[in-house]
Amino acid sequence: MREFEYLRMNTLQEACSLLSEYKDEAKVLAGGQSLLTLLKLNMISPSYLIDIKFIPELNYMDFDEKEGLKMGALTTHRTVEKSPLLKEKFTVLPETELVVASVQTRNWGTIGGTLVHADPIGDIAPPLIVLDSRVKLISADGERTVPLAEFFVDFFMTVVEENELLCEIQIPALPAHTGVAYQKFSTIEAGIKIAGAAAMVSLDDGLCKDAKIALSAVAPVPMRALKAEEILKGKPLDDRLIEQAAQAAAAEADPVTDMHATDEYRRELVKVLVKRAAKMALERARAS
């Protein structure tokens, strides 16, 4: 590990100005759960670590029916898991957290950090994508908002520029008769994900008004399974249709073989996970 200078930030402004000064010489540190591993493995060697963990402006959670949910980038996995508000409004998020790592990691790790880290096996991205989330980025030059579905560029790469911070995650309120579910597959409980799928189903008069499916760990970035979604939209949903959508999603996936599984097996898993997530989402939509 190379030596670096550790800089603890107290305000967002201070962080932004240092980032625009140091640019690629600096790395943002939030919970450190991914960053410290990369440092130790010498996969990155920044000269400055800009610690944003103590910036109060990045740690909040607000909800109103019109604007939906807004949470600061520093919101930890554990906060999401335990939030009564989220349990009521976006049940899938606290549910997903239960399969993320261990309590220790969830206590430290932040949602901003996991998104910017952009590991294709990240668990929280797929449900956030089917929830139509957006993220707000800020820099000394201004702000911009990006749909999460367009946020990821490649393995461990996002649209975040070197002078930018992710400051907020925004989730619109769920439409009526909508259900969301997430399915993760790993060998040990809450282990390295081999494949994952999130599904959102919105019903209107018994027909599928809207559907979103997001897959992870089966492509360089979390991806929407657009063809699968089309199969569901506008139709009365049943097991056969969901099965078809699951097949389509498996064909859309672009998995690789690594030490944990082969690409073929991952594709097979997509079929199962999409089917299970969509069925659960449908049940939830019906019940809501």
């Binding site: 261990s102 597959f185 409980e189 809450a190 390295i192 030490m259 944990h260 097979e268």
Partner: protein, 788 residues
């Protein structure tokens, strides 16, 4: 059954408070004035000639105190096995060539770890790659790259077994086509046996390396005193004897000048038994510099450069009669040894001997070879060979039962040995709780209502295993002293290292029981090579049976001495006396007696100052003078066997192939539970470890490079993976064990692995031929089945 006061009570661990409060000092916590920090440069080549090593830039770095290479340690060889037949062949630092990725190539001592790491980056190694070989069956072929040349011991070099005075002369074994070890054991007449069989099955399993996954990584602190020539050591280990012998041998420091201090040890599981290059290097650097040196391995080096468990391909051919009587068995093993032998020659032998106590097989052949490959070395892991064999044999037992329409429980019970049986090597089964283990585990798990009746995707499986209770191994004895204190308490000296298995508590229970004391009355001094006596430690699970027994014998000796003095004081016969609560009393008249402290004072005044010191010792396998032949399996192995029967219930997701273990029942014969809490802990931990082996764990390689040398990619069970575990005591006390006790720390893991394998088969009917039972393998099997 005799009732005891202290033995058999589940008292909390004596070392528990220090561990949970963080007071416990591990090797990592040892800091000495002026201490330097060492790091090792590891080979990035699987097989290469070292053309040149340029250390000049590293030496110039401020803060660097020494850089050493194989030139400095030229000729120093170490290994787990060092017999005339298999001389130790691993260099402390690679000399003319490297043989695996992770082998030590150079080492640095510096004022701090960062400087040492920077210095490693400045060392330039010029390699000339040689074709490498990674697959043992490829490596065995004519024309494969040869990893070792002829292994001629240096002139005048004596091997460890000669040093220990127990080696038979033998020609050293020269590797041909990378075959570096071989066993060939047989009794009866296999050919005839098979010809009499009504049915023959032949199955092959491939068992990969798995990691010991100790919480505490390996490490050493060495402090050499230039004026006195003494070397003080703090190590993460399983017993000081082998470590100090090897460090003394390689560095030529008299063994009596070497002291291994007590440290707390964060797990070992077989993986810290042998001496390691990093320990010798730390000591070498300390001597060279006259300063203390600390060398702690990072986790990835634990995976790549110490050792993993033994990788084996196990082929079993078995002949049975229609009624299920086993008549013949022929086993063929191929071990992917890695670049040096590690403990493979021992393991190939143990694969036979750890299972020979289970089934009565009249005609048997057991052959195996260890093959050098350009991979890291391999070693014992909790059961050492038993789990590899148990997986293959116990799964085959179920398949045979299925083929012949036999009940798998009855089929096993029918073929079990009997109490009192004498094995081909003359070991005697003086205790044999295995039938009871099977019956109790089967009953507790409600097997009869479940087997074949749980519905698709659910299954239940049974497997049995066995384990030694110590064997003839250095230093072939355990000694102990118990002395009386001024206040009538005692101080016990036990050499055995505590690394989680519990002797610091259980030994005190034995001694307290014998002397009528409470456990708190026994002060313990342990794990220090200078303060304690020679100790066999708990190699091959001899901790209780050999090492703790020596402590009990010392207490018995002290008891006799105390009774003799008390008899004199009370003017009674010693036989009419008993002891309790730090006093001796008259059995007939318990009010009448004398306190221990009075007895001590009396003894000092009237017996020429005798302060009452009890002495005890115990030899593993007392009758043998020479160690059994590893390659022929002849000679006595151990004095008692312990046994386990495990039952596992699983569910398998038919769509993904993923197995979830629902419940594990462990029926165990440990002779007598000296401390049921510790026994339960040992068995639970083996159940969890076995589950990891069965389902998840596999140290993976790509062109000789370990690709999952971390706990993100190498997955082990965590708290939320652990199923319900039921522990069932099915002990048969052994006449030679302390209060009948045998071992509890190793046996069960193999049975648990086998039981999960069999349960998954019961749930899926998918025949898998390699561990772990990764969901993808089961999924493929289910797909194949669906096609048919």
């Amino acid at each position: 059954m005799a009732e005891y006061r202290v033995v058999g009570k589940g008292i909390p661990r004596k070392d528990g408070i220090e561990k949970v409060t963080g007071e416990a000092k591990y090797t990592f916590d040892v800091t000495l004035p002026g201490m330097l920090y060492a790091k090792i440069l590891r080979s990035v080549q699987a097989h290469a000639r070292i053309v040149n090593i340029d250390t000049s830039e590293a030496e110039k770095l401020p803060g660097v105190r020494a850089v050493i290479t194989g030139k400095d340690t030229q000729g120093m060889k170490f290994g787990f096995v060092d017999t005339p037949r298999y001389p130790a062949e691993q260099p402390v630092i690679a000399e003319e060539k490297v043989r695996f990725i992770g082998e030590s190539v150079a080492a640095v001592a510096a004022v701090d770890e960062d400087t040492a790491n920077k210095a490693l980056d400045l060392i330039e190694v010029e390699y000339e790659p040689i074709p490498a070989t990674f697959d043992p069956e490829e490596a065995m072929k004519e024309g494969a790259p040869q990893i070792h040349g002829e292994q001629v011991p240096a002139p005048g070099r004596k091997c460890a077994w000669q040093d220990w005075g127990v080696a038979r002369a033998a020609r050293s074994y020269n590797p041909v086509n990378n075959i570096g070890a071989a066993v060939n054991i047989s009794y009866g007449d296999s050919e005839k046996g098979f010809s009499e069989a009504d049915y023959i099955r032949d199955d092959t399993w491939v068992i990969p390396r798995t990691n010991h996954a100790c919480m505490e990584p390996h490490g050493a602190v060495a402090s050499y005193h230039p004026l006195t020539g003494h070397l003080d050591l703090w190590l993460s280990h399983m017993g000081f004897e082998l470590k100090r012998y090897w460090i003394s041998k390689t560095l030529e420091i008299p063994i009596s000048k070497l002291r291994v201090h007590k440290t707390f040890i964060g797990g070992a599981f077989g993986g810290k038994a042998q001496v390691f290059d990093h320990e010798i290097i730390a000591a070498f650097l300390s001597r060279k510099l006259g300063k203390p040196v600390k060398l702690i391995l990072p986790r990835d080096e634990v995976f790549t450069s110490t050792n993993n468990s033994i990788a084996l391909k196990v082929n079993v051919r078995k002949g049975v009669k229609k009624d299920g009587t086993i008549v013949a068995q022929h086993v063929k093993l191929i071990s992917d040894m890695g670049a040096y032998r590690g403990s493979v020659p021992v393991c190939l032998f143990l694969c036979h001997s750890m299972r020979d106590s289970i089934y009565n097989i009249p005609n048997l052949t057991h052959e195996g070879v260890g093959v050098y490959t350009n991979k890291s070395t391999t070693m014992a892991k909790r059961g050492h060979g038993s789990q590899q064999m148990t997986t293959a044999i116990e799964s085959q037992m179920d398949w045979i039962a299925e083929d012949l329409g036999l009940n798998p429980v009855e089929f096993r019970l029918k073929n079990l040995r009997k109490k009192g049986d004498v094995l081909a090597n003359r070991d005697t089964l003086n205790s044999f709780g295995l039938p009871d283990c099977v019956k109790k585990a089967v009953e507790a798990s409600n097997w009869k209502e479940k087997r074949g009746k749980l519905g698709p995707g659910h299954g239940i499986g049974l497997a049995v295993s066995s384990m030694f209770n110590g064997s003839g191994y250095w230093p072939f004895t355990a000694g102990s002293i118990v002395r009386m204190n001024h206040d009538g308490t005692v101080t016990l000296y036990m050499g055995q290292a505590e690394f989680g298995q519990g002797p610091t508590t259980t030994t005190c229970q034995l001694v307290a029981e014998e002397l009528g004391l409470e456990v708190e009355d026994v002060n313990l001094i342990d794990g220090d090579s200078e303060l304690c006596q020679f100790d066999y430690n708990n190699f091959l699970s001899g901790g209780m049976f050999v090492s703790c027994k020596a402590c009990l014998v010392a207490a018995q000796d002290l008891r006799q001495q105390v009774l003799k003095v008390a008899a004199e004081m009370l003017e009674e016969d010693a036989e009419d006396l008993n002891m309790l609560e730090r006093r001796v009393y008259i059995k007939e008249d318990p009010e009448e007696g004398v306190a221990f402290d009075e007895i001590l004072r009396y003894s000092i005044q009237k017996h020429g100052g005798d302060p009452l010191i009890g002495k005890g010792f115990c030899k593993p396998v007392p009758e043998i003078e020479f160690y059994p032949s590893l390659s022929k399996g002849s000679g006595r192995w151990t004095d008692a066997y312990s046994f386990t029967a495990a039952v596992a219930e699983v569910s398998v997701d038919a769509e993904t192939g993923r197995t979830k273990v629902e419940h594990i029942w462990v029926g165990d014969d440990c002779g007598r539970e000296i401390n049921p809490l510790i026994c339960e802990g040992q068995l639970q931990s083996q159940a969890v470890m076995g589950m990891g082996d069965a389902l998840f764990e596999d140290v993976m390689f790509s062109e000789g490079r370990t690709i999952n040398a971390n706990f993100v990619d190498y997955e082990i069970p965590r708290a939320f993976d652990i199923p319900e575990i039921t522990i069932i005591d099915a002990s048969d006390p052994d006449p030679n064990g302390p209060f009948g006790a045998k071992e509890i720390g190793e046996c069960a893991r193999a049975a648990v692995i086998g039981s999960i394998v069999n349960a998954v088969y019961d749930a899926t009917k998918v025949k898998v031929d390699s561990l772990p039972l990764h969901p993808e393998k089961i999924f493929r099997g289910l797909q194949e089945k669906a096609k048919v």
